[in-house]
């Protein structure tokens, strides 16, 4: 573990405005990604995965929310304290992002080529011709043939899988050191999902990128992650190396997630589901936010927030079940 963290998030607090008050979408989240590492951020919809990624990118829409506290250190520099222009110059160059919906993430009235080359021209100061050359190489690299033809076509002429490849091509066009992928395969059908994941994994290895992969699909996690972070209601509740976490989950929520995963060749009458719903994030009292749905809920769970505790080497969990000093 000698490798330096490329991204380090400390006590990040991202709030969105709502009619009922401020919502802590990302609540005191700390995590780090090392060079060449793939970290998966897992959790249900609305648990703050995407908000975390958008906070890192500085793309939280100021009319709907803000990053209120914390640090986002990218190679030692705090992105949150950076001037807007400086952040913009890093964004898309040193760290880049791909999104969930490839169909709507590309501009319908600009050609694919235009959209690939514009960020190259913006960040690398290449001429149009050189940028086009690079663009064609990238299209080839992400596994689409007929580069010239694709280059001059429009998004509506390509399939979802191809568009996501194009999004990846755009994201890696300036050789970023960190790639954030927000549910990159969710909108695609299963066969394409596997291809896109393979592509991401290969690119990551070839280019020695780090990757923050956001997903709710544990199958994806098992396939690509080095390290897994489980989020619930804006907080990290458990994190650990992928094998360790899958073999030895500690938090009841993580256990529930793993139990809810369908297993091939095991036909069950009914898939396991975690009872209850994600709590309303507006007026949460100090408690374990999972306590309402937890089968092991104790009295302390409803009154005090569990601290993060190291269980084993780099395997942490926030759950009162593992605090010895608490008398049950």
């Amino acid at each position: 573990m000698a490798k330096e963290p490329i991204l380090q998030i400390n006590q990040l607090l991202t709030q969105f405005y709502s009619d009922g008050g401020k919502v802590n979408a990302v609540n005191n989240v700390s995590l780090e990604i090392r060079e060449g590492q793939t970290v998966c951020l897992v959790g249900e919809s609305g648990c703050g995965k995407s908000a975390t990624a958008m906070s890192v990118m500085g793309l939280i829409d100021p009319s709907s929310g803000q990053v209120s506290n914390g640090e986002v250190l990218f190679e030692g520099q705090d992105l949150l304290k950076m001037k807007k222009g400086d952040l913009r110059r890093l964004r898309g160059k040193d760290f880049a992002m791909i999104f969930q919906e490839p169909m709507s993430s590309l501009n319908p009235v600009l050609t694919i080529g235009e959209q690939i080359t514009e960020s190259i021209i913006e960040h690398e100061l290449l001429s149009k011709k050189e940028a086009k050359q690079r663009g064609l190489e990238l299209i080839n690299l992400v596994g689409i043939g007929r580069g010239e033809e694709i280059f001059s076509s429009y998004p509506h002429q390509l399939s979802g899988g191809m568009l996501q490849r194009i999004m990846i091509a755009i994201a890696i066009s300036c050789n970023p050191r960190l790639l954030i992928a927000d549910e990159p395969t969710t909108a695609l059908d299963v066969t394409i999902q596997a291809q896109i994941l393979d592509l991401l994994r290969n690119l990551k290895e070839e280019r020695n990128m780090s990757m923050l992969l956001i997903t709710h699909d544990l199958g994806v996690v098992a396939e690509v992650a080095d390290y897994v972070i489980v989020m619930y209601a804006g907080k990290i509740i458990e994190q650990g190396p992928v094998v360790e976490l899958f073999k030895n989950p500690k938090h009841p929520y993580t256990k529930g997630l793993l139990a809810a995963k369908p297993v091939i060749n095991q036909r069950r009458e009914k898939l396991y589901t975690i009872p209850g719903q994600v709590p309303n994030l507006i007026d949460l009292q100090p408690s374990c936010y999972f306590s309402e749905r937890c089968e092991h809920c104790m009295s302390i769970c409803t009154t005090k927030q569990p601290p993060m505790k190291q269980i084993r080497d780099s395997h942490d969990v926030a759950c009162w079940l593992y605090e010895e000093e608490v008398s049950v």
């Binding site: 009319s63 992002m97 999104f99």
Partner: protein
């Protein structure tokens, strides 16, 4: 592509035939005509004039005569002016056209700029302030707005002439003439612009707000593009697309004149002539003019569709 245009052009024919029938029969079925409106005529004289203008023929027959003349580019004969309709229109339509064109360009330019700025700074002071101003201008009737402008800018300050198209009694030529007309144009153009700007500004603001929320704008930001590029290259282009249709519909309006504004500023435009023709039942002039606007409308419709295809690759024909 050529086949498509050809097909669309062919479709225009039945549309125009329908329009011509509507226009002709609506006017010819209205009781009374130009001759009837003069109570001093004797019965014999009336019959003479009926025969002269063809009012004694059956409507169907008159329709085909009218259509036949239309096809030869003859819109009929204005009874009031005792000159061909085309000549009357030709005399007045251009003065209306230039005022309308100037105000159209101004309205669209201002509306796009204000729309974009107030969308990117939604709920800011600028946004609310402009919204109030724009609604106030839109809600004020044109005669009131016109009179206010005349009172302050023409009478009190004396910056612009209060009405007319050229300085009375002047005999200017060349550039001096153009300058004189331009000076007289300013107030009517201002009134038309203020009236038109409200709706359009709101339209662009809404379109822009819609587009700014789209995923591809977020992608453009994530690429690290400058905010200016994100707004003007990625967002604005998409926000302008639906406006193409709107813009094409402005084409007939360019030639149809502004009845009230032209009256206030004593502008010799087609709007005033149109009103006058109504009062004296100069139906050939009205029919000819309405037919001309109908033709412009269907052509601009076609133009809108073709332009949309040029601007939006998703509807571009292969």
């Amino acid at each position: 592509m050529r086949n498509y245009v050809l097909k669309r052009l062919l479709y225009l024919i039945p549309t125009l035939i329908g329009a011509s029938m509507l226009i002709f029969f609506l006017y010819s079925l209205v009781p009374g005509n130009f001759v009837d409106s003069d109570p001093n005529l004797t019965t014999e004289r009336k019959a003479e004039l009926y025969a002269l203008y063809g009012f004694d023929q059956p409507d169907i027959e008159r329709y085909f005569i009218w259509i036949g003349n239309l096809l030869q580019g003859d819109l009929g004969y204005s009874l009031q002016f005792q000159r061909p309709v085309t000549e009357v229109l030709g005399n007045y339509i251009w003065s209306s056209f230039f005022v309308a064109l100037a105000s159209l360009i101004l309205t669209w330019l201002i509306a796009v700029i204000i729309g974009v700025v107030s969308a990117t700074k939604q709920y800011s002071f600028f946004d609310s302030f402009i919204t109030i101003i724009v609604f106030a201008a839109m809600a004020t009737p044109s005669f009131f707005l016109g009179l206010i402008l005349i009172k302050f800018l023409a009478v009190d300050l004396g910056w612009f002439p209060a009405g007319g198209m050229i300085t009375t009694g002047s005999n200017l030529t060349g550039w001096d003439y153009v300058k004189d007309v331009a000076e007289h144009m300013i107030l009517p153009v201002l009134v038309l612009t203020m009236l038109g700007i409200g709706g359009l500004t709101r339209y662009f603001r809404t379109n822009m707000l819609e587009v700014i929320k789209q995923d591809f704008v977020r992608t453009a930001r994530a690429k690290g593009l400058k905010e200016r590029v994100v707004i003007y290259k990625h967002a604005l282009r998409n926000a302008l697309l639906p406006a193409i249709t709107l813009f094409a519909f402005e084409l007939p309006a360019l030639f149809s004149g502004a009845i009230i504004t032209e009256q206030i500023f004593n502008w010799p435009g087609i709007g005033a002539i149109y009103m006058q023709a109504f009062t004296v039942r100069d139906y050939p002039l009205l029919m000819g003019f309405t037919m001309f606007i109908a033709l412009l409308t269907v052509i601009s419709n076609l133009l809108a569709d073709l332009l949309y295809g040029v601007a939006d690759p998703r509807v571009r024909l292969k």
